[in-house]
């Protein structure tokens, strides 16, 4: 039995709201298949399965808001029988519903159907909650008030012993625990609330995104010792090549300067693995591929940084198509979970609307961010004379725990050099 848990779709995600199941119990699923759509504070994301198997139970309900790590569903690996039930999994699922099929019914009354008509009383019991059918054994009984109070006070409700009817955890148990300083819940408070899914309220959604950005950026500046370097890069050759290239292309296939800059970053990173990867709890892991998180501002406010996967190995035409697709899907709110979690570095490009330079805040757990300002014509000294050239200021914000300014500067120089040979960039593969 495999537990499928709600993944963290980005460092700033603590919880998500299930919008849709794309599978049902008994469905065979393949690794990479989209099995659910989850609303984060930023977008509706297609959540992919990471293993082949068969869906056992769907434990999360549509509309349910749950902390990251909640068991959403159970899967059976190939060869595993349906009878091997999800007892242990369901017991742990926060606010999860036990399926109404299979074991639960069987446990309540074997052969109960046949006996029922004869035993059904003329008058049903009026009061006496103890007469209610016993809840399925694997479901922990926790009262709604206890849940709410625990969430508000950061009490880990799973660690409590219930003193209510049928051993239910009730409000008094949480109050006692809170007074005694019980173990804190693994997630921040308000993980469980009575609110509607934020997707239903535009204003709430924008506020939630603001909060998510605030959390991630505050964490970045709190934990990551940033250093900054910058370099002015002449783009006369690059833009001339682009113009020539685009003149031979159909309108829909023309390349934007941004895609050239992205490709150059991905290629340059090969020699600077200390800028490409993730730092978890102070331990740095280099990523094998360059997945460029592209900062995309959203029309309703806020931004999101989904990744162009393995950008270093793709021709410019492919990258351009993927970038267009990514921007459209980010704004439509239909990103894939891997795009939100797999970024290894972020590139922010202010483009035509921007200022001359930008110095970014690193998106944890990444360790670097490359910023491009607006491409403008500037006086440029070269070969003992002054010319007017299109120039872009590239900057690097990097994690000083992982790399040093000297290497960061060399990386920007490499980037500048690559952009002087655009035709080579197009051919660059892995």
């Amino acid at each position: 039995m495999i537990e499928f848990k709600l993944p963290a779709l980005g460092a700033d995600m603590d919880e998500g709201t299930l919008l849709e199941w794309r599978v049902k119990p008994g469905d065979a699923v393949k690794k990479g298949q989209v099995i659910a759509v989850v609303d984060t504070a930023k977008a509706a994301v297609d959540v992919e399965c990471w293993q082949d198997g068969t869906i056992g139970e769907l434990l999360a309900e549509v509309g349910q808001k749950m902390p990251v790590g909640t068991v959403m569903a159970t899967l059976r690996a190939a060869g595993e029988k349906a009878g091997e039930k999800a007892g242990e999994a369901a017991g742990k699922a926060v606010a999860a519903k036990v399926g109404d099929g299979g074991t639960a019914a069987a446990k309540v009354g074997p052969g109960g159907t046949a006996a029922a008509p004869a035993k059904l009383p003329q008058t049903e019991p009026q009061t006496a909650p103890q007469a209610a059918p016993a809840a399925p054994a694997q479901r922990r009984l926790i009262s709604p008030a206890a849940r709410k109070h625990a969430a508000e006070n950061g009490v880990d409700i799973d660690s409590l012993t219930g003193t209510g009817p049928h051993g239910a955890v009730i409000l008094a148990d949480v109050e006692t625990a809170a007074a005694q300083g019980a173990p804190a819940a693994p997630r921040p408070p308000a993980a469980v609330t009575a609110e509607l899914p934020s997707a239903e309220k535009g204003a709430t959604r924008i506020a939630a995104m603001r909060q998510a950005i605030a959390t991630a950026m505050a964490r970045s500046k709190r934990e990551i010792p940033h250093y900054y370097v910058s370099e002015d890069i002449p783009l006369a050759r690059a833009l001339a090549w682009l113009q020539a290239e685009n003149s031979q292309r159909a309108m829909a296939e023309r390349l934007l300067p941004a895609v050239l800059l992205l490709k150059a970053v991905a290629v340059a990173l090969r020699g600077y693995p200390e800028l490409n990867g993730w730092c978890h709890d102070g331990a740095f892991v280099t990523a094998e591929r360059s997945n460029l998180g592209v900062a995309i501002s959203l029309r309703q406010g806020g931004l999101i940084a989904p990744a162009l996967l393995d950008a270093g190995t793709k021709p410019l035409t492919t990258l351009m198509q993927e970038l267009t697709d990514l921007v459209q899907r980010a704004r439509a709110g239909s990103l894939h979970s891997s795009e939100l979690t797999d970024g290894t570095i972020t590139v922010t490009n202010l483009g035509d609307q921007g200022t001359q330079a930008v110095f970014g805040v690193i998106y944890p757990p990444q360790v670097a961010l490359v910023g491009f300002g607006r491409i403008v014509e500037r006086p440029w000294a070269e070969d003992g004379g002054i010319k007017v050239l299109p120039v872009v200021t590239a900057s690097l914000a990097a994690d000083h725990r992982v790399s040093d300014g000297h290497r960061g500067a060399l990386f920007l120089r490499e980037l500048a050099e690559l952009l002087q040979h655009p035709e080579e960039l197009d051919k660059e593969a892995s």
């Binding site: 049903e124 009026q126 006496a128 909650p129 009262s143 709604p144 009817p165």
Partner: protein, 324 residues
């Protein structure tokens, strides 16, 4: 200064006041005139106000409730007395299909400022055909207001705002309350918009209305002796329900018992529970339970009738079950 009067006297005073203050008001129903009212609510009215305004009717609920609707449409303010809710079933077409709908069917051109009073409830050994509690049926119907005065103050005060309402109002008077006596303060004011907290508590909210209110208050006293502080909510207005007061009591006490003399299935108690789940689910610390009438025809025999109805002991047992 307050004075002690009975529920019956309070109702009579309310009608007397209405008849005195507004010439458009008249009373119509079976035995309201020469007999002085089945429950003596209109004793002496025929002599004082005359046969035009205190009108005895034939035994035809369909006819005289319809006549009341017509009079209301014509500009009068009729008080139609139906002897008991059991007999009002004969007038359901007039109430549900006509009175409740005319504002809608006329595109807002006509309203029906009609007050229908009827006795309800069991407990007096009148057997199955005279002991129904069908308030929940009426509370289902958009277009009418449904009131259930359960205190001396409400018996005295609810009629005036009901008559002032431009739409039909049905008032349910529980026959078990008529001889109840209580203090009527001099400065009473009564509205028909909200539920009321009749007893403040913190451990359990008991939500009820009508004839079950005194039983619930008695249960609360027994519980208090055992250290359980019950908050008692009197719904008073059965349609539209005051969801905010219900939700506030749930948020305060976290445990709820609903007491309703109606049969449980499809009852007003069920609607109250549904509102709780919709509006206050996260405040609950225990399942919500009900004390309703047994789902049988109300028996004639005293001990069986007592056993079929909500009683203080049953309410106490239901509350204690929440703490078991």
């Amino acid at each position: 200064m307050s004075r002690k009067i009975s529920y019956r006297e309070a109702m009579r005073a309310a009608m007397h006041e209405a008849l005195t203050n507004d010439p458009r008001v008249f009373l119509m129903g079976e035995d309201v005139g020469r007999y002085g009212g089945t429950y003596a609510f209109s004793k002496g009215f025929l002599d004082e106000f005359g046969p035009e305004r205190i009108r005895d009717t034939p035994l035809s609920e369909l006819g005289f409730v319809g006549a009341g609707i017509g009079a209301a449409l014509g500009g009068l303010r009729p008080i139609v007395e139906v002897m008991t809710v059991n007999f009002s079933l004969l007038a359901l077409d007039q109430i549900v299909n006509s009175a409740a709908l005319y504002r809608h069917m006329s595109g807002g051109q006509f309203s029906v400022p009609l007050v229908i009073r009827m006795a309800t409830g069991a407990g007096r050994q009148l057997a199955a055909q005279h002991s129904h509690s069908l308030e929940g049926w009426y509370a289902h119907i958009p277009g009418i207001k449904v009131l259930a005065p359960a205190t001396i103050e409400d018996a005295r005060g609810m009629l005036a705002p009901a008559l002032a309402d431009p739409d039909p109002v049905v008032i349910f008077e529980h026959a078990g309350l008529f001889n109840m006596e209580g203090e009527l303060p001099d400065d009473w004011t009564v509205g028909i918009a909200s539920a009321k907290v009749r007893r403040a508590g913190k451990d359990v909210a008991i939500i009820t209305y009508g004839g079950s209110l005194p039983k619930t208050l008695a249960a609360a006293e027994i519980l208090a002796a055992d250290g359980v502080e019950a908050e008692v909510i009197d719904l008073r207005v059965l349609r539209p329900l005051d969801t905010a007061t219900i939700a506030a009591a749930v948020a305060k006490c976290h445990r709820v018992v609903v007491v309703d003399e109606g049969w449980r299935s499809g009852s007003l108690a069920a609607e109250v529970m549904a509102r709780i789940f919709e509006n206050a689910f996260w405040e609950l610390d225990a399942p919500v339970v009900r004390v309703c009438s047994e789902e049988v025809p109300i028996p004639y025999a005293k001990h069986l009738e007592d056993a079929a109805l909500p009683q203080p002991e049953k309410i106490v047992a239901a509350v204690k079950g929440l703490f078991a």
